[in-house]
């Protein structure tokens, strides 16, 4: 967590934590394993009342941040999600809500935003990879496949990126019931986070379904990628912080050869390294959140640096914490695997560490060299 929170931010984090502890303990997470939705809509709606869906949305549209830096505020919520491996489409709903609030037309704002804000509607974000658009005058028709989309099968709307034959990108918000759109649920490691593939076969896009225009699309998509990276990193930071805390406690309580495991230097040194990893993860995530919130020149760089850093180090940390737990660590009964599932999934969705390393190299060297 950011060590320099305002009072309101600290309150948001504390309220979210208390709420998740009460409404979404890991027993509740486990109970949702076979639930097709993967989250409890009542809990989600109550969370929306706490601000989970409105922090990136303009006040004029019914949203509002608590600190003036909505991305930092939302990162606090995401961190609490990680801490309790909470279910719920936090990342896609917020990315899409911000996109609508920033650049959709009147109709989408009026018809879609209120539902996202109060938690009665869900939006999926199909990410930056475009499907193909055939443009004929006012008529735009989309064809293509988006292989992995979070919450697509649970969503009412999906924000899709497309590119036409001239290389012009754009985005559209489509109902998931649109003709020609096939959504196929996928299996995956996380017990409650659902993914699906989306196939578009001649899906017609009306002008009032467009989000943003040709001129602004690339910037808008880049912004979405950055916000997604920050939210994902914040979630991972919360998750490893919790796993680390559990491990320190466990090693203090468990004895071997007449003394606590936590008194063996070999293990103490590993915990010291893990503490360092937890701190570097918080540090770079905070820096990225601030830069993305403030839209500084470093935002793209820091967002990807954070993603490569956490993506590379978080899973290793959790795996070693499992090792330090001994046999109990690889049981279904222990909660450690819930965290391992979450950080392993986070490592590879919305860009792998390698993808983000490539983005960094492009920034440093230029894409074409």
């Amino acid at each position: 967590m950011d060590l320099e929170l305002s009072e309101d931010q600290a309150l948001l984090a504390a309220t979210t934590r208390r709420f998740l502890d009460a409404e979404s303990p890991t027993t509740a997470v486990r109970a949702l394993e076979h639930d097709p939705r993967g989250f409890d809509p009542t809990v989600w709606r109550k969370g929306a009342e706490l601000g989970w869906t409105s922090l990136l949305v303009a006040e004029a549209d019914g949203g509002g941040s608590v600190s003036g830096r909505g991305v930092c505020d939302l990162a606090l919520v995401a961190e609490e999600f990680g801490r309790s491996v909470a279910p719920g489409p936090l990342l896609p709903v917020n990315v899409v809500a911000e996109a609508i609030s920033r650049s959709a037309g009147e109709r989408l704002r009026a018809e879609v935003l209120p539902g996202l804000l109060d938690g009665t509607a869900i939006a999926a974000w199909a990410g930056p990879m475009p499907v193909t658009a055939d443009v004929d005058g006012d008529r735009t028709v989309l064809t293509g496949r988006i292989p992995i989309v979070e919450a697509a099968a649970q969503a009412d709307h999906v924000l899709v990126t497309f590119v036409d034959r001239d290389g012009t990108t754009g985005q559209a918000l489509l109902p998931t019931t649109t003709d020609g759109m096939t959504i196929t649920p996928l299996g995956g490691l996380d017990l409650v986070r659902r993914f699906a593939s989306i196939d578009l076969d001649g899906v017609a896009v009306a002008p009032d379904q467009r989000v943003g225009d040709d001129a602004s699309a690339d910037d808008a998509i880049e912004r979405q990628v950055q916000v997604a990276a920050v939210l994902q990193c914040a979630e991972v930071a919360g998750a490893i912080d919790q796993v680390f805390t559990m491990t320190v406690e466990y090693l203090g309580d468990r004895y071997s050869m007449g003394r606590p495991l936590a008194s063996y230097q070999a293990l103490k040194h590993r915990l010291a390294e893990h503490k360092l990893t937890v701190e570097t993860c918080h540090a770079i995530t905070t820096a990225a959140a601030r830069a993305v919130a403030d839209r500084t020149d470093e935002a793209a760089d820091l967002a990807s640096v954070a993603q490569t850093w956490l993506g590379t180090h978080a899973t290793e940390l959790v795996q070693d914490c499992i090792q330090l737990h001994g046999g109990i660590g690889v049981t279904w009964e222990h909660d450690l695997h819930l965290y391992l599932r979450r950080v392993t999934v986070d490592r590879a969705t919305h860009g792998t560490p390698e993808d983000h390393a490539d983005r960094i190299a492009d920034l440093l060297l230029g894409a074409a060299s």
Partner: protein
């Protein structure tokens, strides 16, 4: 003076920007230059900062400093990047020893030395480690025996960087052998060019002669030169080490501009980019990812320092958390040096006599690997930092110690 009366940070920054542009020469990347000529240049640069009113930003105004806040120092650090600066004064003189003197020096000690340090007239070093061991700092065996108004010092210190070119030291010695190790130590302000002190230089792997060993033969130290209290040297040493971790980690409020922690040795982004281009690897996926990792590590280090120094100041983190920065600086640098070595290829180990450009960068990287572990040892080894983090940040059980609560004279020693 309350902080409200101080010059606003942004005004200070603006004033510094204008002054630096008019007064300081451009940066010539001389971070690792340890020649006598360079040292003289840096002493003069420090004098220039002093004359311009920009020396000792966070040092007390009563002793020649500006009495400003860490935020002023951070602002200043942001402005000095394009200019040549007295880097080698940052560590250990300003960031470690002058900082400790602020905390524990007597009025006379501070009045005499702090302004002189800030004018660029005194270099200080630390006499802590001994031939018998550095990690067990509280186990030092150099002895100081009281004789009226003086202490008589006998023994030897080692690995003191730059002692031959310095004027003063802080020397930790044992003044009481009848109590357990931490309670019988005293910190002394010891002039280096002083009767009975012999300094010998030691050649380091990279060929440099920075390291020194000192021999003390009946060296007389006046009682006024005790820093802190007699037999309470451990308190001073602990504080000194906190400053050291801050300074080496790159988070000291007493240093201006770059010091050890800021990426040195791992190759700058620009060096690595030049290398990649020269070696035709700018389009190579593996090479690009290594470059990205090196860059990412630099940013992570920077933001870790920001987080930890902020946390130490606000009290969100306990003082020993400074070890997080020290440990990360060392392990991060090791990895960055290895990345640079990979990217540099064979020219890092064998180079043409007239190496220049990318070839010279590669050779520099090769040489940097030789001293790679230095930063993992100096200022307390990685293992000692891990002890500190686990015991004093995480609160895990202390290591069993055979010398705890034992009068020091009865403690066993090894043969090396």
């Amino acid at each position: 003076m309350s902080t409200d009366d101080l010059e606003p940070v942004e005004d200070f920054r603006e004033r510094a920007r204008v002054w630096l542009a008019a007064n300081m020469p451009p940066n010539i990347d001389a971070y690792f230059d340890r020649t006598d000529e360079r040292r003289t240049v840096e002493d003069q640069l420090q004098r220039r900062l002093w004359d311009g009113g920009f020396a000792g930003i966070c040092f007390p105004a009563d002793y020649g400093g500006l009495g400003l806040t860490p935020a002023h120092q951070v602002a200043f650090n942001g402005e000095v990047v394009p200019y040549d600066m007295p880097y080698s004064l940052n560590v250990p003189t300003l960031g470690i020893l002058a900082a400790t003197l602020v905390d524990f020096g007597s009025h006379e000690q501070k009045a005499r030395h702090l302004p002189a340090i800030l004018r660029g007239e005194e270099r200080w070093v630390q006499f802590l480690s001994e031939p018998s061991g550095g990690s067990d700092l509280a186990g030092v065996r150099t002895r100081a025996d009281r004789d009226g108004d003086v202490f008589i010092l006998n023994g030897s210190k080692i690995w003191s960087s730059g002692a031959y070119a310095a004027q003063f030291s802080m020397c930790l010695a044992r003044t009481n052998w009848d109590v357990p190790k931490h309670r019988g130590l005293t910190m002394f302000l010891l002039p280096i060019h002083h009767p009975g002190v012999t300094v010998e230089q030691i050649r380091q792997v990279d060929g440099s002669m920075e390291f020194c060993q000192e021999f003390f033969d009946d060296v007389e130290i006046p009682v006024e030169n005790v820093i802190g209290e007699v037999d309470d040297g451990w308190t001073v040493a602990t504080r000194l080490l906190v400053h050291e971790r801050m300074a080496v980690g790159g988070g000291s409020q007493y240093t201006s501009g770059r010091s050890v922690g800021h990426g040195g040795g791992g190759g700058d982004d620009n060096d690595l980019i030049d290398l990649l281009r020269a070696r035709g690897l700018a389009g190579d996926t593996d090479a690009r990812r290594l470059l990205a990792e090196s860059h990412a590590r630099r940013l992570v280090a920077r933001h870790l320092v920001e987080r930890v120094t902020g946390g130490l100041r606000s009290g969100a983190l306990p003082a020993p958390a400074g070890s997080l920065m020290k440990l990360f600086t060392a392990t991060n640098q090791a990895r960055r040096v290895e990345i640079a070595l990979t990217l540099a290829g064979p020219e890092a180990v064998v180079w043409p006599a007239d190496a220049e450009g990318a070839t010279e960068i590669a050779a520099g990287i090769g040489r940097a690997t030789l001293g790679r572990q230095g930063i993992a040892l100096g200022g307390g080894s990685n293992e000692i930092q891990r002890n500190i983090i686990s015991e004093r940040v995480l609160g895990l059980p202390r290591e069993a110690a055979a010398d705890r609560d034992v009068p020091y004279k009865d403690v066993r020693h090894g043969s090396r």
